[in-house]
């Protein structure tokens, strides 16, 4: 995947309830937001999570996951976990150079 056809963008393979996709890295600001959300997520937190995942996954995959949520094929806790998994994969990647 590339941003502008030239610069390669590192992506992270992710899976949620059997659905696989490539997640784009989060910005530093988004990483901090994920860190601050914690486990007790309120309505505002869900809006934020929605926004960040939409950007990281891309519209198509985010639509698919929200459909899964509506159909009961995945849960909000799993989606929240997904955000943490992306942040962790990115952090591990940074730690390993």
């Amino acid at each position: 995947m590339t941003d502008d056809g030239n610069t390669p963008v590192r992506t992270y393979p992710m899976e949620i309830s059997g659905y696989s996709f490539e997640a784009r890295p989060l910005t530093k600001e988004q990483m901090m937001v994920v860190m601050s959300l914690g486990k007790n997520i309120n309505a505002q937190g869900i809006r934020v999570m929605n926004r960040i995942l939409q950007r990281s996954m891309g519209e198509k995959h985010w639509d698919a996951v929200t459909d899964m949520l509506v159909d009961g094929e995945t849960t909000l806790v799993d989606v929240m976990g997904l955000l943490e998994k992306i942040a962790k994969a990115q952090q591990d990647d940074a730690d390993n150079g």
Partner: protein
């Protein structure tokens, strides 16, 4: 040290970040102790301002940078504690979670759920220095006046404080 009247305030305050004012409601010392012992100071604004506003959305959208959010932490702490030298309040808050400090404060009748953050800090300071030798008090003051790593209060750090006088009062420094 602190503006004693400001330490008593139980009123909401606003913090402006990236040109936008965010309201912070009153919360007792216990909540601040939990927040600041649970996560680094640089996360404080995300947690406090993000609780009941669109602050986190603005961060996620890139309208507020991490640096702006990070710098809002000391502003929040100053307003919440009444300590212009916010790092002193920060150090007292961090000390609250150590050893028997909380127990000693409770035995003295100071319940962090019932007092403001500023009251908690002034009470803790009084507990720490009451009966202490002048040299021990000076050492405590010196340690209290060290900002957390990564934060430089700039000119505010030098305002009205004489580190040489404090150092001279310490054992082995005379």
């Amino acid at each position: 040290m602190a503006d004693l009247l400001r330490t008593l305030a139980r009123t909401p305050f606003t913090v402006t970040v990236a040109g936008r004012a965010f309201r912070v409601s009153y919360r007792p010392a216990s909540e601040w102790l939990i927040e600041l012992n649970d996560a680094p100071l640089e996360v404080l604004a995300y947690r406090i301002l993000g609780e009941d506003s669109d602050f986190l959305l603005r961060v996620a959208d890139g309208d507020v940078t991490h640096e702006q959010a990070r710098e809002a932490g000391p502003v929040i702490l100053t307003e919440a504690s009444g300590y212009d030298r916010w790092w002193q309040a920060y150090n007292l808050i961090r000390a609250s979670a150590q050893d028997d400090v909380l127990g000693r404060m409770l035995l003295k009748g100071v319940d962090p759920a019932m007092v403001t953050l500023g009251q908690w800090c002034t009470a803790l300071y009084a507990l720490a220095v009451t009966g202490a030798k002048e040299s021990d008090k000076a050492k405590f003051d010196f340690q209290l006046d060290i900002p957390p790593a990564g934060y430089d209060p700039g000119d505010a750090w030098d305002d009205g404080y004489d580190p040489m006088a404090a150092a001279a009062a310490m054992p082995g420094m005379k």
